[in-house]
């Protein structure tokens, strides 16, 4: 449970350096479980690791924006993002699933589904 004291301490350490908006969205999601805050966290993590930041926030870009071709997301950036999201939401993304995630929408929707399936342990 990410609401336990120990888990919260771990999450605080994990999120050191992340923008306040992402941290706030994470805690709000932990309390309420709404998808909008989950999206903010997922895209915030991706944005944090992108080598070249896009001119606009990721949540202002079309959902069809491609992770590799449009955002320059290399394999390490992708793995950093996935590793962090897995840590934060206690979910696992299989390699076979990972290669199917090519756009912002696919990333968002996949995480929504995984977190929902994981149930209380994730939220």
């Amino acid at each position: 449970m990410i609401n336990s004291v120990e888990a919260q301490k771990c999450i605080r350490e994990t999120l050191v350096g992340f923008p306040p908006r992402v941290i706030s969205a994470y805690h709000t999601f932990a309390e309420g479980g709404d998808a909008a805050n989950l999206d903010i966290v997922v895209l915030g993590v991706l944005h944090f690791y992108l080598a070249k930041k896009p001119a606009e926030p990721l949540d202002a870009l079309p959902g069809t924006t491609r992770l590799v071709e449009d955002l320059g997301c290399d394999s390490l950036t992708m793995m950093d993002t996935i590793f962090m999201v897995e840590t934060l939401f206690k979910v696992r993304i299989d390699d076979a699933e990972l290669i199917q995630l090519t756009t912002l929408d696919e990333l968002r929707l996949h995480l929504r589904r995984l977190v929902k399936e994981s149930g209380p342990a994730a939220a």
Partner: protein, 423 residues
């Protein structure tokens, strides 16, 4: 075609005795030590209580996002995310050196610019990541677990960050590594393959990087920061660890002059040899190091009588310093030459693979600023040093030619010769 003259045009320091060129010069001039009492594990039983500490940094956090560094540096997450602590130090040192040499971003991304690095990697992060893997039964493998930890981490990260296209390489010869990097950088420029090489050395400076040396009883047990590191002294009992990073721009003189860059020193040449004896110890006779010194001088067109100052490798270990003293006597005393000799590790501690480029940087400052660093903490010279000229205080002299020695595990000996720039 004329043989290019190769010079040092930029310097950057993150060291125990200063975080920039001015502070380092001041410390060398006044023999100001960077060694302090330090307990990595308060209450521990290990008899090692001193360290050449870095000031203004906090890299205790396992994640880069928790690190702190001095004001004036601004780094984006993408520059730091694949780095160990010494990567952060190296970024700071590189920024200084690049600005010092008046290099523009286009100079760095030119196919004429190379990057040669030396570091031992990051034992602490290696432990952390491997623990994560084991604790999760192999299910959680941190993406940066390789590129931030292995011995090439500096070259991987800095090459990507700077956009280096000319050449990128790492050197792994323990405490001779960054001197070796300087040597091969010199060759690349002399052969006309590159116009300049950014040479960078770095070390983490934490318990995982330093304490393993206690396993071979190589660390000083002396708790007094003023006496623990005392190269060539009878009472020396081991080295004091340090870390940080130093960056040095080595380049063909013409390109530096065209930019109006400062010229700290000319690198005349270098030489190397191997002891062929021990995994870690020096040849007690010093034969290997003597050969490297002779080769460096021969390649540089100078002889023992031309050398005004030797910046010794001497780390303050009983066996290593004696071996170097024998080598120095064979090369200099036995030929009637009497250069000043000191080891600046008395002030800094031993920076392992960082030490060669750090001390070459000190030598460049000595030539440019007109000083010869004294042999700090030396009270009673080892009898093996008989006949060597070991000034106790820094001399306000103007050395013309300096020899820098380095030795590393496996019997690696590397020496470089620097000369005061004279156009």
């Amino acid at each position: 075609m004329a043989v290019p003259r190769i010079i040092v045009s930029g310097l950057g320091f993150i060291t125990s005795i200063g975080n920039d060129r001015t502070a380092v010069t001041d410390s060398l001039r006044h023999l100001r030590s960077g060694i302090e009492r330090h307990d990595f594990f308060p209450g521990h039983k290990l008899p090692v209580k001193v360290l050449g500490t870095l000031k203004g940094f906090d890299t205790a956090a396992l994640q880069w996002a928790g690190w702190k560094w001095p004001a004036g540096y601004q780094f984006q997450p993408e520059a730091l995310r694949g780095m160990a602590p010494h990567g952060l130090y190296a970024l700071c040192a590189v920024e200084q050196a690049v600005a010092d040499a008046r290099l523009q971003p286009a100079d760095l991304t030119s196919s004429e610019t190379g990057l040669f690095c030396a570091s031992a990697g990051s034992p602490r992060l290696t432990r952390h990541y491997l623990n994560q893997i084991h604790d999760s039964n192999g299910e959680r493998i941190p993406p940066m677990g390789v590129v931030s930890t292995i011995a090439g981490t500096l070259n991987f990260n800095l090459a990507a960050h700077l956009g280096v296209r000319g050449a990128v390489a790492g050197f792994v010869s323990a405490c001779a590594s960054s001197t070796l990097a300087l040597g091969y950088a010199h060759d690349e420029i002399r052969l006309g393959r590159l116009s300049r090489v950014l040479v960078v050395g770095g070390e983490d400076l934490n318990a995982d990087a330093i304490y393993p040396f206690q396993g071979m009883r190589a660390l000083s047990r002396n708790p007094d920061p003023a006496k623990a590191s005392r190269p060539f002294d009878r009472q020396r009992d081991g080295f004091v660890g340090t870390g940080g990073a130093v960056a040095l721009v080595l380049e063909e003189a013409g390109s530096a002059l065209a930019r109006g860059a400062p010229i700290y020193a000319e690198m005349l040449g270098w030489g190397q040899s191997a002891d062929g004896q021990s995994i870690s110890g020096s040849d007690p006779t010093g034969r290997g190091l003597a050969l490297a010194m002779q080769r460096a001088m021969q390649a540089s067109g100078v002889g023992p009588a031309d050398i005004d100052y030797v910046n010794a490798h001497a780390t303050s270990t009983p066996a290593g310093d004696a071996s170097e003293a024998h080598a120095l006597r064979a090369v200099f005393s036995d030929t009637g030459a009497q250069p000043c000799v000191s080891s600046t590790k008395a002030l800094t501690g031993h920076g392992l693979s960082l030490s060669g480029v750090m001390e070459t940087g000190f030598c460049a400052l000595s030539l440019a600023e007109g000083l010869i660093p004294g042999a700090a903490n030396l009270e009673n010279p080892d009898p093996a040093c008989a006949g060597l000229n070991l000034p106790r205080e820094t001399l306000a002299a103007s050395p013309r030619t300096i020899l820098k020695n380095s030795s590393g595990f496996g019997g690696s000996n590397v020496c470089v010769v620097l000369r005061r720039w004279n156009n």
